[in-house]
Symmetry: C2
Subunit: 340 residues, 2 copies
DNA sequence: ATTTGCTTCGAAAACGTTTGCGTGTTGAAA
DNA sequence: TTTCAACACGCAAACGTTTTCGAAGCAAAT
C-alpha cells in the first residue's frame, strides 16, 4: 500500500524545495530544463496528483455543486440529475446529491452543512413542506453569503435567483386544448393540493383552456390529491360517478392509476376515456395502453440549470451583473395510445 | 452581502489570538469563562461556521463518499442512492454521485478525479464496459492507496473488497421453481449477454432449476439480449415461435415489453402466459397486469453498502482486520397479476 | 524573598498547495 | 578586476483550521 505522495515528499527525495517541485510540474520557465525533467519523471513514477482539498482551500473554490431534490426515485428528478451531471462534468465540476425527502428540515440541514465551503453553488427544487411553509430563509441566507443558487421546477417568487422552469400553465392549457380539439367536453383533472406550485399552475392552465372554449368548469371533476400514498379510491370515485370523457393527470402515477381503474371497470381507453399525463417517464412509455403525456425534458432542464450556475460561478469576478434569469424549457405533447 | 466570517477575523475584532477563539468555541477549559462567553456571543452574532474544506485538509478526511453507478435513471440504482444517502447522512457523511454511463473511461476518470483527497471512499457498481473488458486496475489502484471501496450488485471476483450483492443465482432459481410449481414446463428466459455478471448468474439459476426438475433446457428459448435499445423483435419472435407457457425476464423492461407483445397478439397473461420479472420497480407495480417479480431491495442494498464503507472508514486506525466481507441481501418474490 | 503552581493565553506547526519576491551563482561585458 | 544581467532556485505567506507547547501573570507556599 503506497500512500499518496505529496510535493513535500518529492522535494525531500530530490533534495530541492517544495516550490521548485511545484513550479517544475507546472512547467515554469523559472526552473531549469534539467530539474524540470527530473522532477516530472519522479512525479510520474510515483503517480503524483495534487490534493484537491488543498487546492480547494487555496483557491477558495471546490469545483463542486450540490443538487437538492425532494426524491431521487422520481424519474423526473433522476433525469434532472443526469442532465446536471453531464454538464457539470464537461466543465470539471463534481455533483453532490442531497435528498430533502420533501422535508423542510432536511433541506435546511443539508444547505447549512454544505454552505460552509464544501461547495460552490446550489441547484435545487423545493420540497413540498418548504412550499407549504413558505419559509425560504435558508435559501436567502446562502444567497446573501454570495453563493449562487439556481431553482428549478418547484420554484418560488419569494427568492431572487436564476430559475429554470417549464411553463406549467401553458403546457396544461395545451394538453387540455388537445383533448377539446378531439371533441371531448367533459374533461376531469387529477391534480395536487395547491401549495405544490406546479399542481396549482397546471390546474390553472386547465381551467383557462376550458373557459376559453366556453366549457363550464365543473369543480366536481377537479380532484386535488393530498395523500400521495392513498388516492386510488378518490380516482375511482371520480371516474365512476361523473361520466367523464377525458382525464388530465398532473403526473404519471395518477395517469397510470386512472388507467388501471378504467380497465377494472371495463372502461376502454381511449375509446371511452382519453387519458393524458404529465412528465414523460418510464411508466407512460411502458404502460398498456401507453400514455399520451406532456413531456418535460428533465435532462435539458438539469443541463440548463447547471450551465446557468456554472456561468455565474465563473463570471463572479466580473462584478455582479445582478440580473437573474428565468429560463423556460419548452414542453412537448407526446401522443401515444391513451388518447384518440 | 456579508461574507463568511473566519476565526482570524473574530480574533482580530476581539483582539485575542486565533487559538483563543478556536478554543473558546470548543469550550476548552484553558480559556476563562469570560473570554469564552465573549467569543461565543460574537461568533453567534456573526453566524460563524467552521470552514469544511479547512477541516478536511487538517483532518485528512472529507466526510464525503462517492457513489458511482452506471445510470441514475434506472429505478434500481436510484433506490440504491436513496439508501446510501440515508445512512450516510445519519453518520454525517455527504454523497457525491457519479454516473459512468456504462462507460469504462468515465468510470476511470471519475475515480481518478475524486481519489485525490476529495472523498473518503467509494461505493460502486461496475459499468457494462468495465465488466466486458475485465479491466479493474483503476479500482485496484484506489484500494492500494488505502481508500476503501464497496462494490454492489455488479461486482467482480477480481477485486478484493467489501461487497454487497443479492444471490442472483438463487433468486432466479426460486423464480423459475415458482413457475414450475404452477405446473408450467416450457419456460423461457430473457436475459442479457453473459459479460453482465448478473445476467449470467440469473441464467445459471434458471438452468439449474429446470435441470433439478428434470426439465430439459432448451437453448432456443434462452434469449440473450445485447442491444438494450432494440430488442422488441427478438422478444416477439421468442414468444410467437415457441409455444412457451411462461417467461422469466431478468429485468423490468424485458418483462413489460413481453407483456405488451403478448397483448398485441391476444395472448392472455397470465392465462396463456405467465410472466415474472426481476427488480421491483415502478413499472412492475403499475403495469397492467401488474408484474410478479423478484424484489431486489435497493434501499437496503445501498444502506448496507454505506454502512460497510463507513465502518471501514471509522475503524481505519484500529489496524486493518483485512477481512473483506460479502453481504448478501435477501430477495423476495412479489406475486402479482402476471402469474397464475 | 524565592519558589511553586495554577490560570489564561499566544506562538507556531501542521494539513498540501501556489506564487511573488528575494538571493546566490554564473558568465559576460566594461 | 569589477559590474551587471540572467538564470535557477528557495523562502515565506496565504487559504482556515486544530492542537501542542511554552510563557506570562499572579497568588500561595516556603
Amino acid at each position: 500500500m503506497k500512500r499518496k505522495v505529496t510535493l513535500k515528499e518529492i522535494a525531500k527525495e530530490l533534495d530541492v524545495s517544495i516550490s521548485t517541485v511545484s513550479k517544475s510540474l507546472k512547467n515554469s520557465l523559472e526552473i531549469s530544463e534539467d530539474t524540470r525533467q527530473k522532477v516530472q519523471a519522479f512525479a510520474k513514477l510515483y503517480n503524483y496528483k495534487p490534493n484537491n482539498i488543498a487546492l480547494s482551500l487555496k483557491n477558495r473554490k471546490t469545483k463542486t455543486i450540490c443538487v437538492i431534490i425532494p426524491e431521487i426515485i422520481h424519474h423526473f428528478f433522476a433525469t434532472v440529475i443526469s442532465g446536471v451531471e453531464a454538464v457539470a462534468n464537461e466543465n470539471g465540476y463534481n455533483v453532490i446529491v442531497c435528498l430533502s425527502d420533501e422535508s423542510f428540515d432536511k433541506e435546511v440541514i443539508n444547505m447549512e452543512m454544505l454552505a460552509n465551503g464544501s461547495i460552490d453553488g446550489f441547484i435545487m427544487s423545493l420540497s413540498k413542506e418548504t412550499q407549504q411553509k413558505k419559509d425560504f430563509h435558508h435559501i436567502a441566507e446562502v444567497i446573501n453569503q454570495g453563493m449562487p443558487v439556481v431553482l428549478f421546477d418547484r420554484v418560488t417568487n419569494d427568492i431572487l435567483c436564476d430559475k429554470v422552469i417549464i411553463d406549467d400553465n401553458l403546457a396544461a392549457y395545451n394538453a387540455t386544448q388537445f383533448l377539446i380539439d378531439k371533441g371531448l367536453k367533459k374533461i376531469a383533472i387529477i391534480s395536487t393540493v395547491d401549495y405544490v406550485s406546479v399542481g396549482k399552475l397546471r390546474t390553472d392552465g386547465y381551467r383557462k383552456a376550458l373557459t376559453n372554449n366556453d366549457i363550464k368548469v365543473d369543480e366536481n371533476i377537479i380532484l386535488k390529491i393530498e395523500d400521495t400514498e392513498n388516492f386510488e379510491a378518490s380516482i375511482e370515485n371520480l371516474i365512476l360517478n361523473n361520466e367523464i370523457e377525458a382525464l388530465f393527470a398532473v403526473n404519471e402515477i395518477f395517469a397510470v392509476t386512472a388507467l388501471k381503474i378504467a380497465k377494472k371497470h371495463n372502461i376502454k381507453v381511449p375509446e371511452d376515456l382519453s387519458v393524458i399525463g404529465f412528465t414523460d417517464g418510464i411508466i407512460s412509455k411502458y404502460a398498456t395502453p401507453s400514455i399520451s403525456t406532456v413531456s418535460q425534458n428533465g435532462i435539458k432542464m438539469g443541463g440548463k440549470a447547471a450551465k446557468m450556475l456554472i456561468e455565474r460561478l465563473e463570471n463572479e469576478e466580473e462584478a455582479a451583473e445582478e440580473q437573474y434569469k428565468i429560463e423556460v424549457i419548452e414542453t412537448e405533447l407526446v401522443e401515444r395510445e391513451s388518447t384518440k
